[in-house]
Amino acid sequence: MIKLRRYCGIFVILFSIVILSGCATPAVRALESNESQVKLRSMQTRAFDTTDKKRMMQTVISTMQDLDFVIDKADFMLGSVTGSKFLGYAVVTMTVIVRPRGEKQLLVRANAQYGIQSVEDPLTYQDFFTSLEKAMFLTAQQVD
C-alpha cells in the first residue's frame, strides 16, 4: 500500500514538471513565433490607396483610441504608433507601422501582444483593419 502511494507521489511530481515546463520561455525563444513568417505577415498587413502618411497615422491613432488603447509612443519618420490597453489584468500592447508601398500606396502592419503571448489569430487583426478602413473611408487590401 505504501509503495502504491509512493508511486502516486512520483507520478504527480513528474506530471507537474511536464505541465509547468510547457509554459517556460527561455531566452532562446526570444525570436521565435509559432506561425510561419509569411502567414503572419499577410494577416498583419494591409495596403491602402493613399500616400498621405500623416492622415493615415492620425487615423491609426484615433482607431486605436476608439478600441480603448492609450497611445504610448509615436514616431512620424518611422511611421510607428505603439499603444496599450488593459483587459482585466492582462495588458495588450500593439504596434502599428505605416510605410510607403510603391508610388501610390501605404502599407499598414499591426502586431499585437496579449500578456506575454503574440497574437497570431487572423480574425483579431481583421477586426482592427475593419475599423481602420471605416475610419479612413478606404478599402484595406490584402497583400501577398
Binding site: 492620425q58 491613432i61 483610441q65 504610448d72 500578456g115 489569430d121 480574425l123
Partner: protein
C-alpha cells in the same frame, strides 16, 4: 485503503487544476470596437475653433505640466503627447476596513501608490476648420508590497472635465499672450 484512495483523489484534483490553468490562451475579438466606444470618444474629446495645431499642442503640454505630469514621449508631427505622474492612492476607508477584517497583512495589500498615464492626441476635424483634442487616462495601482493591485482605463467624467477646463483656460491665455 481509505487513505490511499483519498490521496489518489487529492493528486488527481491537483493534476486537473494544473492542466486547466496551464497556459492562458489569447481571447478573441478584443480589437473590435465595444458598444461604449462612441460614448467614450465623446467623453474624451473636445473641439477647438482654431486650425493652429502648434498652439493647441503647446497648450496641451503646458496643461499637463500644470496638472503635475511629466512628459514621457511626444511626436508633434502627428500631434501626440504622452505624460505620466505618480500619486498617492491610499484611501482611509479601505485601510480601515482591511485593518478591521484582515489585520496587518491586509493593510499592506491596500492601494498605496498609483501611476497615471495620460496620452493626448490632436488632429484636424473632418471638415478641416477645427482641431479635435482627445485625451485618455490609464492608471496602475500598487500596494505597499509593491505588487500591482489594479490596472484600468479611467472613465470618470470629472477627470476629463477638469483637464479640458484647464486646457480651455490655457488656450485662452495663450491667445491673449498672458
Amino acid at each position: 485503503m481509505k487513505k490511499t484512495f483519498k490521496f489518489l483523489r487529492f493528486s488527481l484534483t491537483i493534476l486537473l487544476c494544473l492542466g486547466v490553468v496551464g497556459c492562458v490562451s489569447v481571447p478573441r475579438g478584443f480589437l473590435k470596437p465595444s458598444e461604449d466606444s462612441l460614448a467614450d470618444r465623446q467623453l474624451q474629446s473636445r473641439q477647438y475653433d482654431t486650425t493652429d495645431e502648434e498652439k493647441i499642442i503647446t497648450s496641451v503640454a503646458g496643461v499637463l505640466q500644470d496638472l503635475g505630469f511629466t512628459l514621457d514621449a511626444s511626436e508633434t508631427q502627428v500631434g501626440f503627447v504622452a505624460a505620466s505622474k505618480k500619486a498617492d492612492a491610499t484611501s482611509t476607508g479601505q485601510i480601515f476596513l482591511a485593518a478591521l477584517l484582515g489585520g496587518q497583512n491586509a493593510v499592506l495589500q491596500c492601494d498605496n501608490v498609483q501611476v497615471i498615464k495620460a496620452s493626448v492626441v490632436t488632429k484636424p476635424s473632418l471638415e478641416g476648420n477645427k482641431m479635435v483634442v482627445r485625451v485618455t487616462f490609464q492608471r496602475i495601482v500598487w500596494n505597499a508590497l509593491n505588487q500591482i493591485n489594479r490596472v484600468e482605463t479611467i472613465k470618470e467624467p470629472e477627470i476629463y472635465q477638469k483637464f479640458y477646463d484647464s486646457l480651455s483656460k490655457a488656450i485662452f491665455l495663450e491667445a491673449q499672450k498672458i
